[in-house]
Symmetry: C2
Subunit: 278 residues, 2 copies
DNA sequence: CTTGACTCTGACACCGTGTCAGACTGTATA
DNA sequence: TATACAGTCTGACACGGTGTCAGAGTCAAG
């Protein structure tokens, strides 16, 4: 028969937790003074308490510990719980290791530049979307701006005519497998409501189709003139490399905002590229 | 200018979190409708939000993220925070890996025995303690019981005489480096209040000294007759091996309770052995 | 004007643990 | 025996990041 403080010292656990375990019916004192409410424990309860602590340290929640100590549990179920927990912990380890690698990459970058990097690359999922688009060859990179304006206007006009509603900012997909300044294979696209009944487009140039999504898309936002978009591309490239990914599809340039000369807001562009584990 | 739902979709973060970041002054909407309280965001806020998300994913708390985004932060401080976080994550990884190994060991054990193992081994810290003791050679293991009774009585008697207060259950330390049944080098000890002024013991046999603590002590509780204590030793040995530790000091047998023939309670004995990483 | 989709605020919940306040209780010393 | 101090009780709040709900108000399309 031990007072709670003695028992707590013996088992190296706080009195608070003994109260809590009592409350959860995990470990009840062998005796409670009827008048004072004082709890009394026995050394013979140590094995159970140690088991509780051990299971808890293994990563089980107290509720799970409670189940595991329940006599009703078949060995089969017990194995199941352990296997499940093992899988969880494995996943956790992996997650932390990825985090550690990213942290290290970031730290190297900080040491070089002596400040927070300019661009923030994030990994996101992108859902499949219905688009109307024009895909064509553009002879030179310098014509992109013009061509986009023209084509987006066309697309926008047609969307209106066809009674479709647009569902997001316009973007371009560059299908060239490598960087090039000539003969760009570009698809200028405009998302439309997925629910829109598929109406075959009229003109030869305009096509409408579903663009597949991607589970892992590296994304970076460029806030400023299009002239300096190459910085964003560079940041994206470095990130992919430094984080051991691999480019697994065409780049997208999403024109989130065109900017406004009036109120002096700059354009905002998002770059996306699907990636996979290297 | 985006409504909160659009911004939330763009950044792949819940509206709840945008509210929360607003509240924490991490990311305020560029505009809030004075009458309705509706929040409006701009795509140009995406970079900041992405940075918030990225830092959060790196394991920083929102408060730390807030500091990191604060312009007042010197590059020096920033590096410091990253290094610290890196150390934390490294430690976390290690902890999870240890947990994983223990989980695997436990799973193997379950698959063999098809039930929860009998003994629960836990790792604990043990503080240094002042003891009065008799160390002597005991010819045969069969005499241990007798000898302990005699010696503990002597010790207890002397403690009373000397005006000391005893501070825990009696125990024996076995100094033999290997298991043996003959010529046991045993120290029978009784903890006393550390604060007791050191009084030199009278008889030749009784000594009083401080017993060093241990940062890592593997411990197991045996609930039952002393006859079967070897099962507990075996469990302790297997645990040490299966968890890649190494025995780094002498075993202790702590007599938590002697049991009582009257009310039929069994003795409770704790085994401890200091361990280090193998 | 109605309807349905958005948005707002404020609250509660999760979980394991520390801590605090205020009331009792147990023990030891003056 | 009176008093002081140490131990214990209960109940509450806090942490942090996020989900969810209720109830009230708002927006946009028909």
């Amino acid at each position: 028969m031990l007072k709670i403080s003695d028992f707590s010292k013996l088992a190296q656990i706080s009195i608070r937790m003994l109260h809590y375990y009592d409350q959860l019916d995990l470990l009840k004192p062998i005796q409670i003074d009827r008048f004072t409410g004082y709890r009394y424990y026995s050394v013979s309860q140590l094995p159970r308490l140690n088991r509780i602590i051990a299971l808890k340290d293994l990563g089980f929640s107290l509720e799970q510990v409670s189940k595991l100590l329940d006599d009703e549990l078949t060995p089969e179920q017990m194995r199941g719980m352990f296997k499940l927990k093992k899988a969880e912990v494995e996943q956790q380890v992996e997650l932390e290791q990825v985090r550690l690698r990213r942290l290290e990459a970031r730290l190297r970058q900080i040491e070089q530049e002596d400040s927070m990097p300019e661009y923030e690359v994030v990994l996101k999922r992108v859902a499949a979307q219905q688009i109307v688009a024009i895909r064509e060859n553009i002879p030179s990179i310098s014509e992109i701006g013009q061509q986009c304006q023209v084509r987006f206007n066309e697309l926008f006009g047609w969307i209106g005519q066809a009674g479709l509603t647009h569902a997001g900012p316009p973007f371009v997909i560059y299908y060239n497998p490598e960087y090039t300044e000539k003969n760009l294979d570009a698809e200028m696209a405009m998302p439309v409501e997925a629910s829109s009944k598929v109406k075959p487009p009229q003109g030869a140039a305009i096509i409408m189709h579903e663009l597949a999504g991607s589970e892992a898309m590296a994304s970076v936002v460029h806030n400023g003139s299009y002239e300096t978009i190459n910085l964003a591309y560079a940041a994206l490239g470095h990130w992919v490399e430094n984080n051991s990914y691999q480019i697994s599809g065409p780049f997208r340039e999403i024109y989130l905002s065109m900017g406004d000369a009036q109120d002096g807001t700059l354009p905002v562009t998002e770059l996306q590229v699907p990636v996979g584990k290297a």
